[in-house]
């Protein structure tokens, strides 16, 4: 009952409603489109804002408090592909590269899902560790590296000539890719400038943040809605995978958060991170290093199945799991 109320509150938040509006506009084939550079600008804003805020909180909490759950987050990100891969490969009968690519997407994380979850927690009055965006920052890359390792074994067998320098590139992309630099960089900047710095930039990076997210989700809805047509192409297996894995990973994430001493809200966020699938960092890195994989599969699963699922149901689900786990 309580879960039902939580879901309803989430569904009626401006952010989720704007997402739905975007999906609808795409479905009725409206010519509404966000300019690409606006999308890029909003992404930069959201990543920098969330990173900066997390950095200020990180500096406040101190490394001693953060390292254990952060290490758990990294480990979880690296491990998820290891069990996702065989599921995709053998139950889903996908090719080696496709299985590896999708596994990488699901081990990595979605910043927007995370941000939506922090807003949701704020809305329902559930406190959480603000430094949790550090987990977001460190969870982007490990799964990508594992996924690429899994997939690379297949390329020689494919008979295709190797592309020059692509394995060097993946490491570079994992360490210095756009979103990693923005998140980790803003974290460090936030950590160094502390509360005094926050006071200066709060009116830009914090106050209007929720509204910006709502507008951004309108565009996300457009993008996701346009891919709905490809759901047929990806098949029933991937549809199930995209809905069930978040439930499993969300559960594991929450439990891990509990074990490593996070609060109820922090554990929820770790669950949401685990449940989420990357659609920014992973696609870029995978197209560079495993171009043999079919991007329609991974992108449609991450963007048109798992993202909407988490945004609407996955986030309240993780909170419900956490509440159940933390009940004495």
């Amino acid at each position: 009952m309580e879960l039902f109320d939580a879901v309803r509150a989430n569904l009626l938040s401006p952010a989720v409603l704007f997402f739905a509006l975007g999906v609808l506009a795409a479905v009725v084939k409206s010519d509404l489109r966000f300019p690409e550079q606006l999308y890029a600008g909003l992404t930069i804003y959201l990543l920098v804002a969330i990173g900066f805020k997390g950095g200020v909180a990180f500096a406040d909490a101190g490394f001693a408090e953060v390292w254990l759950p952060a290490a758990a987050a990294i480990a979880l990100g690296a491990l998820i592909p290891l069990w996702s891969y065989p599921i995709l490969r053998f139950w889903g009968r996908m090719s080696v590269v496709d299985s590896a690519a999708i596994a990488a997407h699901y081990g990595s994380v979605s910043a927007v899902t995370f941000i939506a979850a922090t807003n949701y927690l704020t809305a329902v009055g559930q406190p959480f560790e603000s430094y949790a965006s550090a987990f977001l920052a460190v969870m982007e890359s490990p799964a990508i590296l594992v996924g690429v390792l899994l997939g690379k074994r297949a390329v020689p067998k494919s008979g295709l000539p190797a592309l020059t320098g692509s394995s060097r590139q993946v490491l570079h992309e994992a360490l210095f890719g756009r979103s990693v630099v923005l998140l980790v960089g803003a974290l460090v900047v936030g950590g160094l400038s502390g509360a005094g710095g926050m006071a200066k930039v709060e009116a830009f990076f914090v106050t209007p943040f929720q509204g910006v997210l709502a507008l951004f989700l309108l565009e996300m809805g457009l993008v996701a809605g346009r891919r709905l047509g490809e759901l047929r192409k990806v098949g029933v297996f991937l549809l199930g995978f995209g809905v069930l894995m978040p439930l499993v990973h969300g559960f594991i994430g929450v439990v891990l958060g509990h074990w490593t001493g996070l609060s109820l809200g922090g554990a929820t966020l770790l669950g949401v991170l685990a449940a989420s699938a990357s659609y920014i960092a992973a696609p870029a890195a995978i197209r560079l290093s495993l171009p043999e994989a079919n991007p329609t599969l991974s992108l449609t699963a991450a963007l048109a199945i798992t993202f909407p699922f988490n945004l609407t149901l996955g986030i309240p689900y993780c909170l419900a799991v956490a509440r159940w786990l933390y009940t004495p």
């Binding site: 489109r33 690409e36 592309l163 320098g165 692509s166 659609y279 197209r287 560079l288 171009p291 043999e292």
Partner: protein, 98 residues
Amino acid sequence: MIALKLVTIICEAHARKPLTELLRDVGARGWTAFAVEGNGDKGPRLADIPETANVQLQVIVRPEVAITLLERLEREYFPRYGMIAYASDVQVIRSGKF
């Protein structure tokens, strides 16, 4: 006026970096690039998110380089990325520049 080849490549934006490395590899001394949208066998590519954006690369090279480039594209890149490539004839004034 000197006769050269203009090779145009239209491909997904994520392939831009490896492609410019290929251009250098085959001996091009410069290139020009810009974002485009498109439609083809792999479906519509609306440019609003980088994941579905295309890029158009233009490179002026000597005819023999054009052939090498197109062949390597066909062998190494066509099987991996959604893309097209074509060559056309152009005339330039400055020799030695390309």
